[in-house]
């Protein structure tokens, strides 16, 4: 469940959940687009704040 959730959460828009974890995560980098996508699909958002320090 955990892996699947991360997958559906993080790939945002991919309809078919696979058993294997994706090699890379297709991160959304625009807040508006992420909110629109999450709202449309009723899915929560994982929002990672990072810095390049």
């Amino acid at each position: 469940m955990v892996g699947a959730m991360a997958f559906t959460l993080l790939t945002g828009g991919c309809a078919t959940a696979k058993k294997e974890a994706p090699a890379t995560i297709a991160w959304n980098t625009a807040m508006d687009a992420a909110l629109a996508d999450a709202g449309k699909n009723g899915r929560p958002i994982l929002l990672d704040f990072y810095t390049d320090w």
Partner: protein
């Protein structure tokens, strides 16, 4: 989604993100459920995210339990830490101070941690005098604490931030001398070197800048 907090400062400010990394778990409408602050092993991270999605261990649920568990030092420490993570410093400060009052002998072993958190919050709020005093309390009261070295450095950092460069220099030199093999000794030496140069420039005291004679 990923955001560079230095670039998208408005969103970081909106969600009151003040340390990195911070991962927010949001409802689909963008309202925060809770957050994970700092680095965790993947399974622990996922467990926290799952808990939040199921409404467990959220700051809101913990705050609701305070009326019944608020005299338990472990609960207070955890609640204070959560407020700290949410950058709700005043709420955090109140709980840390209650913990200090509740357990002056540090039977819980959490009071030195609380003092360090109070120091770090004060530093983030740019109250360097308060930050230094909290860190100094760790050194004075709990010299055997795991936090002793961090507190030592915290004192130096806050002298430096408040512009007392000579006092800061002394702390970093002392640190490098006392703990020459420590993982933070190079940092202390670097700080001491930088401060020596700065002091040399401003007050024209001749110094050897080439040798690391600290």
């Amino acid at each position: 989604m990923k955001l560079n907090a230095e670039v998208d400062t408005a969103t970081a400010a909106h969600y009151r993100v003040r340390s990195y990394p911070t991962v927010l778990v949001l409802r689909s409408d963008g309202v925060e459920i809770d957050r994970v602050v700092g680095y965790y092993r993947a399974p622990d991270f996922m467990e926290q995210v799952e808990d939040y999605l199921d409404g467990r261990n959220t700051l809101a649920s913990m705050a609701a339990a305070e009326s019944t568990q608020g005299s338990d030092p472990a609960f207070l420490a955890k609640l204070a830490d959560r407020f700290f993570e949410h950058a709700l410093y005043q709420d955090a400060r109140t709980r840390y101070l209650r913990l200090l009052a509740l357990d002056p002998a540090n039977k819980s072993g959490l009071v030195d941690d609380a003092l360090m958190s109070l120091a770090r919050m004060s530093r983030k709020d740019k109250d360097y005098t308060a930050a230094r005093k909290y860190a100094q309390k760790v050194l004075d009261r709990y010299p055997d604490s795991d936090n002793m070295k961090s507190a030592f450095l915290e004192v130096g950092i806050n002298w430096k931030r408040s512009g007392d460069l000579a006092k800061a220099l002394k702390v970093f030199v002392d640190y490098a001398r006392k703990f020459p093999e420590d993982e933070d000794a190079p940092y202390a030496r670097e700080q001491a070197d930088t401060l020596a140069v700065k002091l040399g420039h401003t007050i024209s005291v001749p110094r050897s800048l080439t040798g690391h004679t600290l």
